[in-house]
Subunit: 343 residues, 2 copies
Amino acid sequence: MKKVSVTIKEIAKQLHVSKSTVSRALRDSSEISEDTKKKVIELAEKLHYYPNPIAISLLKNRTQTIGVIVPDIANRFYSSAIGGVEDIAYSRGYHTMIYQSHELLERELAASRHIASRRVDGLVVAISSQSENIDHFVQLQEQGIPVVFFDRVSEAMQTHKVRVDDYKGAFEATSHLIERGCRRIAHIAGPKPVSITRFRLEGYKDALKKYGIAFQEEWVLHSEITQAGGTERTYQLMALRERPDAIFGASDRITMGIHWALRQLGYRMPDDVAVVGFCDLAMSSLLDPPVSSVTQPSFEMGQQATSLLLDLIESKSTPAAFETRVLQSNLVINKSSLKEINL
Amino acid sequence: MKKVSVTIKEIAKQLHVSKSTVSRALRDSSEISEDTKKKVIELAEKLHYYPNPIAISLLKNRTQTIGVIVPDIANRFYSSAIGGVEDIAYSRGYHTMIYQSHELLERELAASRHIASRRVDGLVVAISSQSENIDHFVQLQEQGIPVVFFDRVSEAMQTHKVRVDDYKGAFEATSHLIERGCRRIAHIAGPKPVSITRFRLEGYKDALKKYGIAFQEEWVLHSEITQAGGTERTYQLMALRERPDAIFGASDRITMGIHWALRQLGYRMPDDVAVVGFCDLAMSSLLDPPVSSVTQPSFEMGQQATSLLLDLIESKSTPAAFETRVLQSNLVINKSSLKEINL
């Protein structure tokens, strides 16, 4: 199919003004009267004239577009965070382009290259679990495209970061299970390279320590962030000679897998095995039993990361220091962990 | 932040070749030796040189990028369909930019404008429920940017369309409920303007007719495609003097709301009220009771829509005729509709 293009010349001709007047009107120049600007913009819209983004970029050094890369848009934590990104971007006059990495470094690299060549103004990223190396993001930043991390952050790059207090969330979840009488508490953690995996694992370990419960290596298993991963690791845990009496899942996908496996295997929650998850469980109330969860302000994380990004884009200089914002999580207790306490 | 840009001149200088050699090497011209191409590409990558997309576009009239607009990425039907879009796009060397309309015409218009100005090569769309007018897509097509619809299609535009047999899916779901002994079957339908709402409603009505059951206006309610919508409409249905003994929900979001409301109100599924939904219920197996559902090949829909789109993009002429592909749905029966039949 052939592309039809309308030019500034065409608009100038129809309005009997000069090309430079049209061009300046479209850039909202103060030299042009409001009346003329209105006429030019109306005709441009009518003729479907879209200014060359590179030309605008040269003028304003802006595309009014930001990119967002997340591992998986079907994960409600990320779709909600994207809602927050779009909310701020839209209100400040920016478009949002969404990319998913599918947890693959290769896809993340492809998205980064695309973003570099399409010249977006900046990028909000939750790093893929495969990406131990984040040079591609460092390169974007060096090229003048700011990158802000949220949720999955990296120490390897100086920039703004927005995350929740994963340590505290995991500490509270584990403490809650201990307070309900659980003593053999397993943890199905996320992939090892991911920042949130480490923070959550530390919170789990420190809660055990606080209550004088010995940490046991075989009760911590790492899993992909999938329901199938949670199911497989639960089979493995329940097959242990000394079975856990509680499982703390590091994400909602993993926790769905735990729930499914325990029901399949015939265990009762919370009496046989108490369960606490991490992240928003949108359908938690429909599950039987409903699952306790450390919930995160995902929408707000997207909003804050985007505000920080747009401030970087709109400021003329690199900030004196980058900021790491740590938002609070909240433990929501449901039936899955409400074990009767024998006094 | 200032953008640093590397030019073809710089690459030419470092390699002691002409600018035109660099330029032709980057376009993979047959006039340049493989050895030179390799050197140019390696240096371009090292220097983070990204060719001007408009320049490429002028050369090839392509951006190797397609856009996809869906109402809601958090809806598993759409996230799975996007997986199918990305699968085909990636394998054929195209990038995918994802946009969500949030079921708002205004957002769909903003995404269309953005797509037009960023010059993607084509667009895959599931139309927002608010968009009775789809002139913005007609305009893109007229500008030479092909648009292929999937799931939510429109009669108002001649193009390729991929949808499932909504009529047949609804006919089978309703027939199944009648065969299990239900006689007062309600239908919570989607928003009126949406194509799939009409097809599903017709299937429901024709199944009633086939079994000689009178259609009753008050048993069909329209709802937003949200869990809250399904819940509210279920309250309304169960408040009727003559209560339904079955509810057929037009989407998975709506069906989650039905499930939630019935449990809240103390009804047993399927004995008091049998339930069948529409679309993939990823967590169906975790629900209590698991929900019967008309499932759709969402991933395949995304794949087929994208294949059709890329064929349009890569062909030099407009096809003689546009195609509408109707894929088959599949009724998966679960406990929520398995009512005991009294013989």
